[in-house]
């Protein structure tokens, strides 16, 4: 309501923005040729014994993962290959081909270099290889001893807080070896339902062999699977898809017979396959990154070279952003449909959602400002970059009971959504401080106008963000009352959400406080105020114990980059302060 009321600060800011901005645009032809690099890097051709079509057909089969989610093999194979080699395809083979072939011919694949060993010199010494990708076999000595055994044992006893890069790398590598081992032994292929199991457990061929399932139908479908395997191997080159399809259908029929009630619908499965093949967020990361550099270049060019008329094309830049945003929305929507719940329920999802709200904020409030759009893109690219890092698991995960509520959709969307808005304010604040540093008497008119305009955008964004986080926290209280029987309990996460609200309330009320009214003060505060959001979003989960940290564990050390960033930003703001005072 605050937004649409006629004489609110919000509407008056929007009006001022309109006056301040004359017709502005930019040239944007360069970026049309962006597409995500599909990573064709086949130096050592490996011949798979599974053809692409058969692997794709197999990729559509449903399996049960260790968390109880049913998903197509294609999703699993993608996850596994990304974990092993940080690639989505390898040697010109799809992840499905590699996965299936590894399951069928372990002996052959043990010698194929597909595990990324990292670049730690100690580990390279132990493994005796400096290659980027090395084979499973290379992790074992000639008498089949695991080369990393002692190191892994040691690393596991070290407290996470005290783990060095070596221990971390060792643990990560050990995980990869375990995954590879599970593929080779066929343990990941949990696709056969135990007949009439009330828990709807599905088991792998390896499990069936050990369990000696009495029920013939399961054994039958296992044999079908085996015959399918042989078919595939025979059918090298000219494959017989009709034949293989028939066997696959038998397995699906068995699955349907026992577990049809808990299995996802076929349309959901195809949506998941589409989501996998589109790789929306990986592509967007590259697109946002490239586009942000180009736009930022044009923006600075326009500010410091008064003669250049880049503003004319701003409108086109906005349209382009809108199109990319539509793609982002599609990805998020697909994920929502596939998972059957709002796509902001784990770390990875909340990041892509925050990137989405950042784009939303930028599209709404910076329609006519190149600077605002650049800041938006820089931010969206950064968030997706962070989301793509290995510590965030992009898997779709089931929810713990307390989160199974429509309140999750409402509360978390507002909370996490506000972070996007507030972060945009912080990035604009930083951009303004940089502009202040480069202000000279010569370009003063232009920069001052730009800074003013960006500050207004930032204030609107922060108002939006504050509104969202306040309403979100309020509704969080309502949810808390329904699940824990109290509105507010000073839990660490609640408290820090409130700290965020208070700090941003302060920043937005600074214009009423004598001495804190300057443009510099506002931009400085909007940059450093964001520290409270970082604390709420990451800090609380990692450093404080409470009800909201569902993935608790030993505390993790503050990464050194945080300190470097803080020092750089502090320096930036000090230099900006003196430069700005000088010019003014």
């Amino acid at each position: 309501m605050t937004f649409f009321s006629k004489n609110s600060r919000f509407t008056s800011l929007i009006e001022r923005l309109g006056q301040n901005t004359s017709a502005k645009s930019i040239v944007l032809l360069v970026m049309l040729c962006i597409s995500a690099g599909s990573g064709i890097s086949a130096q050592a051709p490996v011949i798979s014994d599974v053809s692409r079509d058969e692997a794709a057909a197999f990729g559509k089969m449903l399996i049960q993962d260790h968390r109880g989610r049913f998903k197509p093999v294609n999703t699993l194979s993608g996850e596994v290959l990304r974990k092993l080699s940080k690639k989505s395809a390898l040697f010109g083979l799809t992840s499905d081909q590699i996965f299936l072939s590894m399951t069928l011919s372990p002996a052959k694949w043990e010698n194929v270099p597909l595990i990324q060993a990292g670049s730690h010199p100690e580990i390279q010494k132990i493994l005796g290889s400096t290659e980027n990708l090395i084979s499973y076999r290379q992790f074992f000595t000639d008498d089949a001893q695991y080369k990393l055994r002692d190191q892994v044992r040691h690393a596991q006893t070290v407290n996470p807080k005290d783990q060095g890069t070596f221990e971390k790398a060792i643990i990560k590598l050990d995980e990869k070896i375990n995954i590879a081992n599970m593929i080779f032994s066929g343990r990941l292929l949990k696709m056969f339902p135990i007949p009439n199991d009330p828990a709807n457990t599905w088991v792998s061929p390896a499990d069936i062999r050990e369990m000696k399932m009495p029920e013939t139908s399961v054994l039958q479908s296992f044999e079908n699977f085996a015959s399918y395997v042989q078919d595939v191997q025979k059918g090298q080159g000219t494959s017989n898809t009709a034949e293989t399809g028939k066997w696959l259908n038998t397995i699906t029929a068995t699955q349907m017979q026992y577990s049809s009630q808990v299995m996802p619908s076929p349309s959901r499965v195809s949506a998941e396959l589409l989501l996998n093949s589109l790789d929306v967020f990986g592509r967007l990361r590259n697109v946002y990154g490239l586009l942000s550099l180009v736009l930022l270049g044009f923006f600075f060019y326009g500010v410091f070279r008064q003669t250049a008329d880049v503003q004319r094309y701003t409108h086109w830049a906005w349209v382009l952003l809108l199109a990319i945003f539509a793609f982002h929305s599609l990805g998020l929507g697909l994920r929502w449909y596939v998972s059957g719940r709002a796509p902001w329920s784990n770390g990875y999802e909340s990041m892509i959602y925050i990137a989405w709200t950042t784009m939303l904020a930028g599209l709404i409030f910076s329609r006519r400002s190149l600077g605002g759009m650049s800041a938006t893109l820089v931010l969206a690219a950064t968030i997706l970059l962070v989301a793509g890092m290995s510590w965030l698991d992009p898997e779709i995960t089931p929810l713990v009971p307390v989160l199974k509520s429509y309140w999750l959709t409402i509360h978390v969307s507002l909370e996490a959504g506000s972070y996007g808005f507030l972060m945009l304010g912080a990035v604009i604040g930083m951009l303004n401080l940089i502009l202040m540093i480069f202000t000279t008497p010569h370009n003063k008119v232009n920069t001052e106008r730009t800074i003013k305009e960006l500050t207004i955008i930032s204030e609107i964004t922060l108002l939006g963000g504050l509104f969202m986080v306040s309403v979100g926290t309020y509704l969080g209280g309502v949810w808390a009352n329904e699940s824990w029987g109290r509105y507010w309990g000073w839990d660490a996460k609640e408290t820090w959400a409130l700290v965020t609200i208070l700090v941003y309330a302060f920043i937005l009320h600074m214009r009423f406080i004598p001495g804190l009214r300057s443009v510099y003060a506002f931009n400085f505060a909007s940059l450093f105020g964001f520290a409270t959001v970082i604390m709420t979003y990451f800090g609380v989960n990692y450093y404080l114990s409470g009800l909201h940290s569902y993935a608790a564990g030993d505390p993790v050390p503050v990464p050194p980059q945080v300190y470097y960033t803080a020092v750089v930003l502090a320096l930036l703001s000090v230099v900006a302060y003196f430069r700005w005072r000088q010019v003014k």
Binding site: S5, G68, N200, P398, V402, G485, W488, L502, F506
Partner: protein
């Protein structure tokens, strides 16, 4: 006079002051989360959330909002949105105050199939029971102790013609026993075993015979069969057994089997295995006293608290030490004054409600093929004969039961299918 008041009003409720309140508020609660992390919720509440100054801060904060609503003429200028947003904060502050002073919280434990009509308060109490010849009196006192905040309590009660002075002199977070060397003490050894809850420490005094984890420890000069006999010679321990013992020196991992024999030197911090059980003699003090010291400074929900108390009846002083914890009824300790006894316990209070809640069924669904729960629900029946009520209800996420002015929500699942609501 009037001008001074105006001046004070303008200072205390100025925009600058409002900004200051916001910042103090933010910093205070931010700091509180760290206090909570290191010293427990009770300390954070004691020092900040429930402190007087914090309440004053909130009142001032609310005051500045009201003052500035008028100063900026939000009503006259028809800034309805802003007005609603700011008034909402005031309503929230008032609501928080009401909950703080008039609300209460507790846990009702009901086993599947059973009913309950009482719950345990979340607040902690000192519960007193005085027995005098043929009469007894019970009363309680709400107390709040924390590692960093309040650690003492004083109260004076008159019962009949007697005056009881109750003093809590010390609060000890997570109390544990510790051996300290002291002249004129006893010889004590510390036996460490791997129990069901992990590492367990048991102190054995000279002259004791105890069975720990299946091993008979005999710390007397007498040599007993089927026992781990320990004696002190020249301020060191010696042991003897009638069965072979496996001894592993931790530092070198060197293992020896020691055949049954007469007394041999016992190695501290070495692993001994006698029969099926392994143990380590972790510590030995030739002359020591047991004392109670604070363990972890952090008071968690399930942490034990120790209280040193003195009670004086008409000037006759008795000392005692009692322990208790939040959410559990305390074990009473008796202060005996001869003709009367005062039993004191520290912990939750049982509060009765005028109706019964029966747990008919507790339902937990799991994700397919795993042990991970996907949802909980409780089928309950409210039985209130006085109102003629017999109401079945299903409590689940987002569906809480509200009866008799009390809200019930599912809390936790315990393995024995006991539900806390």
């Amino acid at each position: 006079m009037n001008s001074i008041l105006t001046k004070v009003y303008n200072t205390v409720f100025s925009t600058s002051a409002a900004g200051l309140y916001l910042l103090i508020f933010a910093i205070a609660i931010g700091v509180a989360t760290f206090i909570e992390n290191d010293f427990g919720t009770s300390s954070a509440q004691d020092l900040i959330f429930r402190a007087r100054w914090f309440e004053l801060l909130l009142v001032l904060f609310g005051g500045t909002i009201i003052a500035n609503i008028f100063r900026f003429r939000l009503v006259q200028q028809k800034k309805w949105a802003s007005l609603i947003f700011h008034s909402a904060i005031i309503i929230i502050i008032i609501g928080a105050g009401v909950t703080r002073y008039f609300g209460y919280e507790g846990m009702m434990h009901i086993r599947e199939g059973k009913a309950a009509n009482s719950f345990l308060s979340t607040e902690t109490f000192l519960n007193f029971k005085v027995s005098q010849s043929d009469k007894s009196y019970s009363f309680d006192e709400s107390v709040f102790f924390s590692t960093l905040g309040n650690q003492t309590f004083e109260g004076t009660y008159q019962i009949g013609t007697d005056i009881y002075k109750v003093n809590v002199t010390e609060f000890i977070p997570n109390p544990k026993e510790q051996l300290t060397e002291q002249q004129g003490g006893k010889a004590v050894m510390k036996v460490v075993i791997a129990g069901q809850q992990g590492r367990e420490e048991i102190f054995v005094n000279q002259g004791d015979r105890v069975n720990i984890n299946g091993v008979n420890f005999n710390f007397t000069p007498e040599l007993l069969p089927n026992a781990f006999n320990v004696v002190v010679r020249n301020d060191s321990l010696y042991f003897a057994t009638d069965a072979p013992v496996i001894q592993t020196v931790m530092a070198t991992q060197k293992t020896d089997t020691i055949p049954p024999s007469d007394y041999k030197p016992l190695r501290l911090r070495s692993m001994y295995v006698l029969g099926q059980s392994g143990f380590v003699i972790g510590e030995f003090k030739a002359s020591a006293m047991m004392s109670i010291v604070a363990g972890d400074q952090k008071m968690k929900n399930e942490s034990n608290a120790g209280l040193r108390m003195t009670i004086a009846k008409n000037g006759v002083v008795q000392n005692n030490f009692l322990t208790g914890q939040k959410g559990v009824e305390g074990m009473p300790k008796v202060f005996d004054f001869g003709d009367s006894q005062m039993a004191v316990s520290y912990g939750s209070k049982t509060v009765e409600v005028p109706f019964n809640i029966q747990l008919r069924d507790f339902i937990m669904e799991r994700y397919p093929g795993t042990d991970n729960p996907s949802s909980y629900a409780s089928e309950v029946t409210v039985i209130d004969p006085s109102q003629g009520v017999n109401m079945p209800f299903r409590i689940y996420m987002n569906n809480i039961l509200d009866y008799g002015g009390i809200d019930f929500s599912n809390h936790l699942l315990i393995k024995t299918k006991q539900v806390h609501i």
